[in-house]
């Protein structure tokens, strides 16, 4: 009887262990860098609340070459002297450095839209954080799949 029970027991133990390893693999690597990005965002925002929406990031969903990725950030704003976009910050989750760029606009911009080309080191989420003239913040994000990473290759 004793010998019979043992295989079931070890199988259970194996499954538990495998589950534990999978959980660690799934959460640990992402956590460290995502925390870095939220730190960088907190530095900009302070304690103010950030609303989701109004900001659109245009990025290709699948990127072959992470060295040049076309990015367009659009903010839904009338861009008048009373109500306009002051700054747009762009952050990435898994690049070596969370900051990508900071754009300063004003009522003379006419349209809250900026385009540039960025580097992406991994499959990740890109976030744009926008500060309005009344001091409120809003954000938008886009998910990108990157096949060839930038920044880290050897020469």
């Amino acid at each position: 009887m004793k010998e019979r029970r043992r295989p079931a027991n070890s199988r259970r133990r194996f499954l538990l262990a495998a589950g534990g390893v999978a959980a660690v693999l799934a959460f640990e690597p992402a956590d460290a860098t995502v925390a870095e990005m939220s730190d960088a965002m907190r530095k900009v925002v302070g304690g103010a609340p950030v609303a989701k929406g109004r900001v659109t990031l245009e990025l290709p969903p699948l990127v072959d070459n992470g060295n040049t990725v076309a990015l367009t950030v659009r903010v839904d704003s009338p861009m008048t002297a009373r109500d306009h976009v002051k700054t747009i910050h762009v952050f990435t989750e898994k690049n070596p450095q969370p900051n990508v760029a900071t754009f300063r606009l004003g009522p003379r911009a006419g349209r809250a839209s900026v385009a540039t080309r960025i580097r992406l080191a991994d499959t990740q989420t890109v976030v744009a954080l926008c500060e309005m003239s009344d001091g409120t913040f809003c954000s938008g994000s886009a998910d990108v799949v990157v096949t060839l990473a930038a920044c880290l290759e050897e020469l």
Partner: protein, 106 residues
Amino acid sequence: MARALITVPASARHGEIIEIKAIVGHPMEPGFRRTQLGTLIPRDIVTQFACTYNGVEVFSADLYPAISANPYLAFFTVATESGTLVFNWIGDNGFSVTESAAIAVT
């Protein structure tokens, strides 16, 4: 002196929203890459960009290593008066480029 390319419409109606595109030749070495011998290649990037319209700043940007080589920026401004737009890039190792473009507003 690095080469800079700017696209500004030569003329515009008063109050029209115009698109401006600016690109400057620069390797944008991010400072995270290593040579095959393992030595770190030092950072060499453009850190700041500014566009002034008849002396008034209408757009500026802080750039980080995540911006691609030959940094490209496209943005909008309202054509308020005839004059010149001056573009300035500042970067590591004393990099500085200034370009200007004229616009006629009717």
